[in-house]
Amino acid sequence: MKSLSALAQSYIERFDTALETLPGQSSRSITDLRKAGLEKFSQQDFPNKRVEEWRYTNLSALTKGAANEDSSGAPALAASSFDADFEIVFIDGIFSENESRLDKLPQGLSLSSLATELGNGAVFSLNDEEDRSLIALNTAFMQDGFCLHVTENTQISGVLGITFKSTGTETHGLHIRNRISLDDGASLTMLERHEGKGSYFSNPVTDISIGNNARLDHYKFQNESVSAFHLALTDVEILQGGIYKNFSFSVGAKISRNELKTVILGSDAESHLDGAYLMRGEQHCDTTTLTEHKVPQNISNQTYKGVLDDRAHGVFQGKIHIAPNAQQVAGDQLSKALLLSDHAGVDCKPELEIYADDVKCSHGATSGELDDDALFYLQARGISESNARKILIEAFLGDVLTSIDNDVVREYFNTQSALWLQNS
């Protein structure tokens, strides 16, 4: 048997001790679940570059145990406040009642911490998957997270804030497990934020189920410290007429991966996965999506735009899978990257796997530099080079940011994007 990475080894050695303090320790079924997770993880180790889905993202800086050696740990962007209507806050992966504002939760929305639920012996059927070791690891060590439920036909107005702050003091990794379920006809808008300082490994796994005609607007702001590892996996199931919209705005982490899997199980359902990432220095940002159309008559689309400076690196892997009977499906995919430096780069792998014949699909990927002609044109009208560059970068990001439905979130992301540009 091949030898495991140093970090995997340390997780396995620590597991028995950890079991005694992890939430749900008194529940047999939860302990069994964790053990099964550890077993799967130890068979696979962390993904390495020999795994096809991980060809472009190298985790060796993490798995060799270097996670805590990087000392800079500066926040990518200064921590910002977002005026959410209600907010649940986690510090180093643990629910913080003090910082959360849950007193005004509307009727029909229930929100609790995973640790509490596990402690109460709640039984979960986690859609764990054989082939993804990061989920298996999360299952073994999951410590906290949120459980969110919106009851039938309840439309929540306002924005729910979900904030994860890291102080850089947690050395064993943040194994956050979140569960979201929207009953039929329910709707919710949420902004998930990750920010921190120092060096740490965050591994949030989120399971989402969208009921018939339900709608979730899921915004994510990834502003981890530039020494952090952020490996997020989100699995979504969408029933008939359901809509899932995800917009991920990423500026943080040393190495990040945002892996999104949506499974469309009903007609007239929609999956929209969009995002923007702004990276500089040595940052690496990977967006990997899988959209599965299991039944006929539904749509999916994806638009990602990246701005990469210095030696930053972007990855976009998007796969659309259309099952044999899933006729009259539309799937579109677009990835664009703007390279501000000769040393920045991007890898793109769009994939269409289509087994039905009456479908409409498209995919495209481009990368390029700022247009010299446009730059000179702006300068020739009196605009300084640095301002001209900003104007062109904002223009590049413009259409994807303006596509954000929620005004408050759009404004917030625009502000963060302007802050990022100010630092260049």
Binding site: L378, A380, G382, N387
Partner: protein
Amino acid sequence: MLEIKDLRAEIGGKEILKGINLTINPGEIHAVMGPNGAGKSTLSYVLSGRQGYEVTAGSVTYQGQNLLDMDPDVRACSGIFLAFQYPVEIPGVASATFLKTALNAQRKFRGEEELDAIQFLKLVREKTKELGIKDDMLKRAVNVGFSGGEKKRNEVLQMALLEPQLMLLDETDSGLDIDALKVAADGVNRLRSPERSALIITHYQRLLDYIVPDFVHVLADGKIVKSGDKSLALELEEKGYAEISAA
């Protein structure tokens, strides 16, 4: 206003300008005419500061300062305006935003108060009305989807708004129908004053029917081979460049 002395410039190691001498005094309009490949556009780019052109010898003095030391935006703020032969399309940047940013950058440079959105809109409406340009182009992205004529009109509008001291017109007449040509000429003529000068670079004499130059120069193979008054343009039209250049 502008004094060019023995200017030599190359691009990619190939010498294009081979010793240009030209003096433009305040209030004067000069036309530089020449065949394709003579170095007309290179001259306009060197004067406006485009990257990629290397000045190997000579000097350019603008209002007493060394022009070649200035960044392109500083040249623009100091009153030099290049009307592009091929105005650039910039998707995602609204024309109005672009114009306001440019105007305010120049005002700030001169130590003047920046205009707010309302003041700017008032000014721009005034200018479009004067020039007979439709202001719906302001809402569109800069030059995106504009016809050739619309692009040149947009250049003229920018010029009217920025009120430069020295106008450089690079083949502004190329690809224009007669109506658009008149709008362009009108734009320049409106700005004509004893303090303002212009350098009009053109292949054809046509534009000079509408903007009457004080001096006409023939540029051939990187040098000014002949200078004269406006009648030289007519002579060129009649005899062609080959004969004049050889003379």
